[in-house]
């Protein structure tokens, strides 16, 4: 049951009708049942690993909480943390990475002259497993660190993991953000509902009208075994906007759904293509993942506290694992490594870059900013080529083609991509310079403007959408 389907609209209508007509503790029960139905609608068996890991995590956290209350030392809590980590990582490794590593070992042994026949598993990857395992891990780690009190009741924690708006593709919620909202009665105001509707409609527009219309352009070029440099460049641009519209569209819908039910989710995107450097980008792109990686991987590895060389190594490890989190394919590893190298390079040359930019007078700032954004956008786009490629050979072919990016130019294709990207660019401007547009939100006729806006976006979603494509991040 995708967010973009009639079934979901009916499902949501029924859920909201019930939800708005019951009081707080019962609302949670409604949401748990609804979330189970939502998840089981893909495949009821997906509930088994989810319930297993959730139960174990709840038990581990409860045990650790009791030890904290008893004043026992941190070391005593460690076994429970390990049980939780091994369970979550084990499930993820089993479902997502077993075949990948088995294939890698098999081909490695064959190359070394020891042909092996490792059994491959025929299993379906449970939807959203990467998201909910990270969320559950953050919960037990926070409890272990004493930064957060374990949930008293299992249904509270279960809903925190299972809550359907974020279950399959995030944003990855921290327990410290979501669980208090579950425990306490929600305040649902008309402003919140309207803000939620704004996000839902805009998210649906980005997914259906922009991402799904960009998808055929991207798919066609990536299906071409020998694209020209110009086509590769266009594919990179188109995919950059497609993946943004697809993922941020999903996130907006998820955040909007949460809002109409009185919840607040964390922000996941903040005009990422207006980044001027890699660090800036990771503060704006998939924020819930990048902050998770920072707090639960980079900092535990030592962060930047153990010398420069170790810091650079930590950055690389974090980003490579972050790439692998996206999927069990070498191009994701390569993409992670590319992002790691960018961060490492930026860390090394940041002082020089800063000095260079300080050489310009403030009057030049808009120009230096624009040049930085434009230049770094191309750096991001190359990363998306690595991300989207179907094989290492394709990466090689496409990279080589980029040496001549202007041959066989097709202005029609440029116009089409620009047309589809223009709402994203406007959205970026709107988010980057919020004060410049606050007059819109202060308009006396805001409700009327909104009526027109909803009608226009609804028209585009209903009648000008591309062929329905699954959300890209559902595969992760």
């Amino acid at each position: 049951m995708s967010f973009i389907s009639l079934q979901f609209v009916i499902f949501l209508t029924v859920v909201l009708c019930i939800y708005y007509n019951v009081r707080h503790p019962v609302q949670n029960v409604v949401l748990i049942v609804a979330s189970c139905i939502f998840y089981a609608s893909w495949d009821w068996r997906f509930l088994i690993p989810l319930m297993t890991s959730t139960s174990i995590d709840y038990w581990c956290a409860a045990k650790m909480e009791r030890q904290i209350a008893a004043g026992l030392p941190k070391a005593d809590r460690r076994p429970f943390l390990w049980i939780s980590v091994v369970t979550n990582i084990g499930l993820l490794a089993f479902f997502k990475y077993f075949n990948f590593f088995a294939e890698t070992i098999q081909s490695g042994l064959t190359t070394l002259g020891y042909p092996a026949n490792i059994v491959m598993l025929e299993i379906v990857l449970p939807l959203g497993i990467s998201f909910y395992t990270f969320q559950a891990l953050s919960y037990t780690i926070d409890v272990y660190r004493g930064q957060f009190h374990a949930a008293r009741r299992f249904p509270t924690f279960l809903l925190g993991i299972l809550y359907f708006p974020h279950l399959v593709a995030g944003p990855i919620q921290r327990s410290s953000n979501l669980l208090p909202q579950i425990v306490n009665p929600r305040v649902i105001t008309s402003e919140k509902v309207v803000a939620g509707c704004d996000l839902i409609v805009w998210g649906a527009f980005k997914k259906v009208c922009l991402a799904d219309n960009l998808a055929p352009i991207v798919n066609e070029i990536f299906a071409n075994p020998n694209p020209t440099g110009f086509q590769t460049l266009m594919a990179a641009y188109a995919f950059a906007f497609q993946i943004y519209c697809d993922f941020s569209g999903y996130t907006d819908i998820a955040r909007g759904l949460a809002k109409v039910m009185g919840f607040e989710f964390v922000l996941n995107f903040k005009s990422p293509y207006f980044s001027t450097n890699p660090r800036d980008f990771w503060g704006r792109w998939h924020i819930s993942l990048s902050t998770w990686l920072r707090d639960y991987l980079y900092i535990p590895l030592g962060g930047n506290k153990r010398g420069e060389l170790r810091t650079l190594a930590n950055l690389m490890i974090t980003m490579v694992l972050g790439g692998l989190w996206h999927g069990a394919r070498w191009n994701f590893v390569l993409w992670g490594a590319y992002q790691g190298l960018l961060l490492v390079g930026y860390r090394l040359w940041e002082p020089d870059l800063r000095r260079a930019s300080q050489g310009f007078s403030p009057a030049w700032r808009p120009i230096t900013f624009s040049v930085s954004v434009f230049g770094f956008f191309h750096v991001i786009c190359y990363g998306w080529l690595l991300f989207r490629a179907e094989s290492l050979n394709q990466i090689h072919v496409m990279t080589a083609s980029l040496l001549d990016p202007v041959s066989a130019m097709d202005m029609g294709l440029v116009t089409k991509i620009l047309f589809l990207a223009s709402p994203v660019i406007l959205e970026h401007i709107f988010q980057y310079f919020p004060n410049a547009f606050c007059f819109v939100m202060q308009s006396r006729f805001l409700a009327e403007v909104r009526a027109v806006w909803y009608a226009l976006l609804s028209y585009l979603v209903l009648f000008r959408g591309g062929d329905a494509q699954s959300f890209i991040y559902f595969q992760f």
Binding site: L6, A447, E448, A451, V452, Y454, A455, L456, S458, Y459, L460, L462, F463, R464
Partner: protein, 376 residues
């Protein structure tokens, strides 16, 4: 309370106006459609003393007519020309641009002949009855100068004889909308959207309800009366004679449906959907009607010694080939065109070889005076 009601009403009106404006601008961008004028199928057709015909150079949505008012490109003068006569099945409703069966027939025939030797002219008009076609023959022959006229008659228009009275036998204009009608363009889109997302079983139940309501206001029959079959036979014979009187060879096609030769229960929904347009005949009556009218086509072909291609027999049924009860999908039009091309290729070859008009059919035995029951 009153003020808030007015505000909500204002929002509703604003939303509706925005939706309608969006639809109009969308039509303008996509199809170069006028923003303020009515935009419906009537843009494609004009009325003259011989009834309805295609308006030269007109376009509406995906449909575009050429400078002669026919769908598709202009016929090449040096080629054997085949003119296709029929209703929406021939004109093409659901097929993609260039995939309607006359276009695919041209491609297929030229492929079989190994040279660009044939032009196929699509002179069909949605809703055109066989009777209406008779009046069009002189103009069509004058304009297209065909060597063959392929007649693929639409049968359902004979369900309601009142509709085919002399006063209104040209074509069912109400199908096209009227050039001066105001209509919400968003409504048409919404209907298509709803149809595409509502499950089939729900749509069938709604149609059954509508049919039941219609049945209350008019009598529905299980079987098409003999008089209707007879009217079809009379019109078909007259059409054949009108064609051959102008030295053109007629080729008759029997009428194919989604059911092929059999009726399978899971496909009953499509019969119900079809019945919505013809509530006076019950579902079972359609299959019986098709069978009896196809028998008439075969009989007329035999008695008038006209070439016939028995597409009712040749064409496989099923939803892959038919979008509804009688209209083709792209694949359906392709299969249909291939089967017709297979039978027509020898006729075209012969026509090219003799470089004469291929209407030298065997000596004609004129049809007997029309009798009831010929279609049984």
């Amino acid at each position: 309370m009153k003020q808030s009601t007015i505000r909500v009403a204002l929002w509703a009106v604003l939303s509706l106006v925005t939706l309608e404006a969006s639809a109009r601008v969308d039509d303008w961008i996509t199809y170069d459609a006028p923003i303020l004028e009515p935009y419906n199928m009537s843009r494609l057709f004009i009325e003259d003393h011989n009834g309805t015909r295609g308006k030269p150079g007109a376009s509406y949505l995906k449909w575009k007519l050429n400078a002669q008012g026919f769908r598709g490109p202009l016929a090449e003068s040096q080629r054997v020309r085949i003119l296709c006569l029929g209703a929406s099945e021939t004109f093409g409703l659901y097929e993609s641009e260039g995939m309607e069966f006359p276009r695919q027939l041209e491609v297929e025939l030229n492929r079989r002949l190994g040279r660009e030797d044939v032009s196929v002219v699509n002179a069909a008009t949605p809703g055109m009855s066989t009777h209406a076609a008779i009046r069009r023959i002189p103009d069509l022959v004058e304009l297209a100068r065909p060597d063959f006229i392929l007649v693929y008659p639409s049968l359902a228009v004979y369900i309601d004889l009142g509709f085919l009275t002399e006063a209104d036998r040209s074509a069912p204009r109400q199908e096209f909308g009227r050039p001066f009608d105001f209509e919400f363009r968003i409504q048409r889109r919404a209907e298509v959207l709803v149809k595409s997302i509502i499950p089939d079983w729900v749509q069938t139940q709604v149609r059954l309800l509508q049919i039941r309501l219609d049945e209350n206001s008019q009598d529905a029959q299980d079987r098409l009366p003999e008089a209707n079959i007879l009217a079809f036979r009379n019109d078909l014979v007259a059409l054949i004679r009108a064609i051959e009187a102008r030295g053109v060879s007629a080729v008759l096609l029997t009428h194919a449906t989604r059911f092929g030769n059999t009726s399978s229960p899971p496909e009953r929904n499509s019969l119900t959907a079809w019945r919505k347009f013809y509530p006076s005949l019950r579902e079972e009556g359609f299959l019986d009607m098709e069978s009896r009218m196809n028998a008439v086509i075969r009989d007329v072909a035999r008695t008038d010694s006209v070439s016939i291609i028995d597409m009712a027999d040749e064409m496989p049924g099923g939803s892959n080939y038919f979008a509804d009860f009688v209209h083709f999908t792209d694949s359906g039009a392709r299969v249909f065109a291939a089967r017709v091309a297979e039978k027509m290729a020898p006729m075209v070859t012969e026509s090219s070889a003799h470089q004469t008009l291929p209407n030298a059919v065997p000596a004609k035995k004129q049809s007997e005076p029309l009798k009831a029951g010929a279609g049984e």
